[in-house]
Amino acid sequence: MEQPVSAGNDPVIRVENLEHAYGDFKAVDGISFLVQRGEIFSFLGPNGAGKSTAINVLITLLGLQKGRAIIAGHDVTTEAQKVRESIGIVFQDITLDRDMTVWEILEFHGRLYDMPVKQRRDRIEELLKLVQLDGKRNELTKKLSGGMKRRLEIARGLMTRPEVLFLDEPTIGLDPQTRMRMWEYIKGVNREGTTIFLTTHYMDEADQLSDRISIIDHGKIVITGTSWELKNTLGRDLIYLETSDNASAQRLLRSIPAVREIKEKSEGIVLMVNEDGTKVLPGIIDTLRGEGIVITTINLKKPTMDDVFVFYTGKEIRDEGQAPARGGFMRARGR
């Protein structure tokens, strides 16, 4: 698969035609992608799109069925041990022992990875400061807030100075404020040189946090690019119209050169335009008025990640509870 490369050409993750099935159901259906050293790369997709299955194969918790995956120069099939030594993981669900202290959780991890005592202890101090938990070192993890638990897990993932940190839905279930702070931590870790691979079903998380995004749906990568590149594929602006005769309006407006594509919505139409929407709009209004079509609603906006997602997957994200704020565009539809 061809893809734009924004960081240097030094892939830390190289995946080719990865497939994974549970019985007859193909959870991951032939995906290929590269993650460059030093980037933050996201899998954006609805729940059940295959994100977690893919990540579980990459971190060697699931056996590879078909295709190839190279992490930090090691093949997940033949060198699983090497892969394990070079990655850090933050799992989707909290995986802490409720009855161990913050310090013990990190110490346990350091021991699991056979780190020498001195190095282990120094790292713990360093990381406790990084995630601002040094005041909580002797606290049992069950006494921590959700955000603190996540931060502790991130610190744990960084204990061994991994080349890649895998984050599976890192801010799921966190309140908006805590999510923002989580992003700051993740960006900070990335600035220190750790490549980040994350999965998310939050548009804003993919948009604001990642250098590049792959939209994944039904086990396939639909499109990959920077946030800017993805939005640009929808044109410069989006114009939403509801009229007395949507079908005729659609036919008429196709002849305007600036209109790249028109999509039908339940009550209106969306025009993707290649030029500045504020300049195109008067012409559109004139054209429709000239044919006697009455415009009841107009909305003009820049494409957002939501729009990109809806365009490429044909659906809005199926989110339960706690949906991030959407652009005003979608709300306009309901009036």
């Binding site: 918790l61 699931l62 041990q81 394990r84 799992f91 995986t95 013990e104 021991r111 699991l112 056979d114």
Partner: protein, 278 residues
């Protein structure tokens, strides 16, 4: 050389000593068995047996001493069988994913858990022997100190081997199960026949033929043979039954336990190798 199993062991012991309530109750429970069931039954049995003739020169032991050995075995059985529950909690809500995704080999996980289970069983066995002696069980009666120490060590060897076998069994079942309730159900089901079809509380010689054979091959009986041999002696009378163990009998019992444990280890190893936790 990797010491991954020591890490697993370290963490398990932290948990063992952290929960004071659980720690104390697990140590108190066998003592209560001895104190209540033991003394109550002993007072009855010893009265019933009082009229029975014991051959001259034979060594007769009271019921408390007899069943005290059984209680050591019972405690080991229960502790080991239910220890797998930690694995299940770890799998569903805890550190199992972290451990499985780490470079630590899966056999290290099994060995680490087994070591901590054995440690717990040792602590319990020592407490029961101490408490039993306190309330009148005649363990190591008339032995010189050195022989007492040797006896205790031999008993711990038996207890350790037996504990390992059931720990492996418990771990194998736990890693294959989804819910703690299911595990609890299976383990409760297992404890019944293993405990009662053994010589823990009574002699098996008078059992119906099939039950007697089953009991003779029960690892529990083999463990208790060893404990009684070292705590009481090779030749004694209890509950009107003459017990005479030769060294060969005891060696055979120990080998039986080793065989059982090896089979259980293979079972656990196989289940862990194919375990997928995501």
């Amino acid at each position: 050389m990797s010491y991954g199993f020591l890490t697993i062991y370290w963490r398990d012991m932290i948990r063992f000593f952290r929960f004071k309530a659980l720690l104390i109750s697990s140590l108190l429970q066998p003592a209560l068995w001895l104190a209540f069931f033991g003394i109550a039954m002993a007072s009855n049995f010893d009265r019933l047996m009082a009229g029975m003739q014991v051959p001259a020169g034979a060594y007769a032991v009271g019921y408390l001493t007899f069943m005290g050995c059984g209680i050591i075995a019972m405690t080991t059985l229960f502790t080991s069988l239910f220890s797998g529950i930690v694995i299940l909690f770890d799998k569903n809500w805890g550190l199992m994913r972290e451990i499985l995704a780490s470079p630590v080999g899966r056999n290290h996980i099994i060995v680490g858990i087994a070591l901590s289970g054995v440690t717990k069983s040792f602590i319990q066995a020592l407490i029961i022997m101490g408490f039993g002696a306190l309330i009148g069980a005649a363990f190591f009666a008339g032995y010189p100190p050195l022989q007492v120490v040797a006896g205790i060590l031999c008993i711990l060897a038996f207890v350790g081997m037996f504990a390992l076998g059931f720990l492996f069994l418990s771990a194998a079942v736990a890693i294959s199960m989804e819910s703690p309730e299911g595990l609890q159900g299976i383990m409760t089901l297992l404890t019944m026949p293993i405990f009662f079809a053994s010589n823990a509380l009574y002699p098996i010689d008078t059992f119906p033929e099939i039950l007697r054979i089953l009991s003779a091959y029960n690892p529990m009986t083999m463990l208790i043979n060893g404990i009684r041999y070292f705590a009481i002696g090779p030749d004694f009378y209890a509950l009107g039954t003459h017990y005479a163990y030769t060294q060969a009998d005891i060696a055979l019992s120990f080998l039986g336990l080793v065989l059982f444990t090896v089979i259980m280890f293979i079972l656990a190893w196989w289940r862990f190798r194919s375990a997928v936790v995501t």
